[in-house]
């Protein structure tokens, strides 16, 4: 393998319903730093159907070039079709690095592409750096349930690939009017050759803000005792105009649905205010909320690890404190008293 032939940092641009996924913008920010350090180009790869309108945004967030595969066969994400496009592009233009969001689509695609190329793939990266002269990607990730961090290298293969956790890297601020180079590509793929069909897409339409977009998250843990006790979390969130979060244990207990789970196997959140109430603060929970603006923990055990990961801690009984908090906030924000 001649490494000289491989140049440039690429970001797979994930698109859902005509919108670019936030993680792709974050990766353009992270990729820009790597490309600058190496003195190479930053490019996006965009695959879909009727997606040309998106290129402007991709350049405004830092890409120099964009490879576009705009064909009806790419209307829905499917491993087999998207993988063919990415393999085609990578074999033709030979990048040194390809980054993907560690979303279900990004992980699915990257795992398949890595096997076919073949090359190494670092999973769920949270820190990225590159050696300026050799171009070696230093991708670090939590493993063993967050108990350790490990730096993974891929010395003998190109491109080097990594999936990167959403909400960890920072997108650049949008530079209006910044332009770049669009390279339109096509591959010859027939619908008959693709072995999976999307029969239907079902959206669970709730108008509620998604937990990873919320400014205020009120999260509760096993310390709330029961589904009924957990209601206090809903009430407090409602009073504050926030969204409910939960630890894995309360999701497993069925007190709240899985898409509210914060942590390593749930969602990573970065709200302006995060309440952790009756949550012990296991490392797997912490990795999902530690970048929040203001973390307030309430726990009756003064030795709970959560107190090592918060800005303000209150040692006390949730059942005593939350009703008082609901009262106080209600009066302050809505100017009236409530029954709790």
């Amino acid at each position: 393998m001649n490494f000289e032939e491989y140049s440039g940092v690429w970001v797979f641009i994930e698109e859902n319903d005509g919108k670019i996924a936030q993680v792709s913008l974050e990766l353009l920010g992270a990729g820009r730093a790597l490309a600058n350090k190496r003195g190479v180009e930053l490019a996006g790869v965009l695959i879909g159907d009727k997606i040309n309108g998106l290129s402007k945004t991709i350049f405004e967030y830092g890409a120099d070039s964009l490879y576009v595969y705009d064909q009806p066969i790419f209307k829905y994400y499917r491993t087999e079709s998207y993988m063919q496009a990415l393999l085609h592009c990578s074999e033709k233009y030979k990048p040194e690095i390809i980054l993907y969001g560690a979303t279900s689509t990004g992980k699915d695609l990257a795992s398949a592409v890595a096997t076919d190329l073949p090359t190494g793939l670092t999973a769920d990266t949270t820190e990225l750096d590159v050696e300026e002269d050799t171009g070696l990607l230093l991708a670090s990730r939590p493993a063993f349930g967050g108990n350790i961090m490990a730096t993974i290298l891929c010395k003998k293969y190109r491109p080097q690939m990594a999936t990167v956790r959403p909400k960890v890297m920072k997108a650049l601020s949008q530079e209006k009017g910044r332009i770049g180079n669009v390279i339109e590509e096509k591959i010859d793929l027939k619908e008959e050759d693709i072995r999976t069909k999307v029969l239907e897409i079902v959206r669970h339409t709730s108008k509620k803000i998604k937990i990873d977009e919320a400014d205020i998250v009120v999260a509760g843990g096993k310390g709330l005792g029961s589904a009924q006790g957990f209601n206090l979390i809903h009430q407090l969130a409602h009073t504050l105009g926030g969204v409910v979060g939960g630890s894995r244990d309360v999701v497993e207990a069925g007190w709240v649905e899985h898409h509210h789970q914060v942590g390593q196997t749930g969602v990573t959140v970065t709200p302006k205010i995060y309440f952790a109430i009756g949550i012990s603060g296991a490392i797997q929970h912490i990795v999902g909320m530690k970048n929040s603006g203001l973390i307030i923990a309430i726990n009756k055990d003064p030795n709970a690890p959560i107190f090592q990961s918060c800005h303000y801690g209150i040692v006390g009984d949730a059942f005593e404190i939350i009703p008082l908090l609901i009262q106080a906030f209600h009066t302050a924000l809505h100017g009236e008293e409530v029954e709790v």
Partner: protein
Amino acid sequence: MLHIVACIKQVPDTKVIKMNPKTNTMDRASAPAILNPYDAHAVEEAVRLKNKYGGTVSVVTMGPPPAVKAIRKCIEIGADEGYMISDRAFAGADTLATSYALTKAINKISEIKPIDLIICGKMTIDGDTGQVGPGIARRLDIPPLTSVNQVVEVNKEEGFMVVHRKLEDGHEVIQTSLPCLLAVEKEINDVPYSSFPNMLKAARYKPHIWSVNDLDGIDKKQLGLKGSPTIVAKVWAPPKPEGGKLIEGSTDEKVEQILSIVLEKKELFEEVRGSE
């Protein structure tokens, strides 16, 4: 009759594992070895499909000799056969080398009995990459379907199945040709307590154990550390977070203080107030 193969791995229970603060390594002895929790759901789903459509469930693992225990656990859940590939040559494999070795084992199992469906867990709790399942599917050239949270139908006669793949805000309904590979979410099923007859059967069960030389046409250069493009260069303990400020006082005083800290961010509440 379906032949379903579930891929399973024995892992240290990372919930209880302790770190050696001096060397920054994991004290493996501190953690019991368990069946990867996600793989229990993979096996359970295979068993449910067997019960519905008829057939056989085999499980396969690559691991050191003690991993026989994880196979026994799968027999308890209801699997019929267990296969293990175990050899020093496999040690240090990354996901690419792991999927290569497992594919060779699966090929050998399919010679014993052709395979209709392969089921993996979403991920393991130790390496936790989620990359092995799609890797196996690509090597076998069958469709990989990740994030599966429901199996709707399996139709072996017509050679297809229908599943739900979880999306962030819903799910998609996918039809795929058979054979294929699923990586399943935990929510796909609940794993019940094992039945007494299965426990008895598991205790006596002797899995088929193969070494490298039992696998036909294997390229040793693609195995273990040698066959792995990625290497773990450095391992360290995540930085200890700094403790926050404890709010002291009577309960009322504590509540009062939280109120003022939170309300300082007044821009967050304009809308809440405005909507009243």
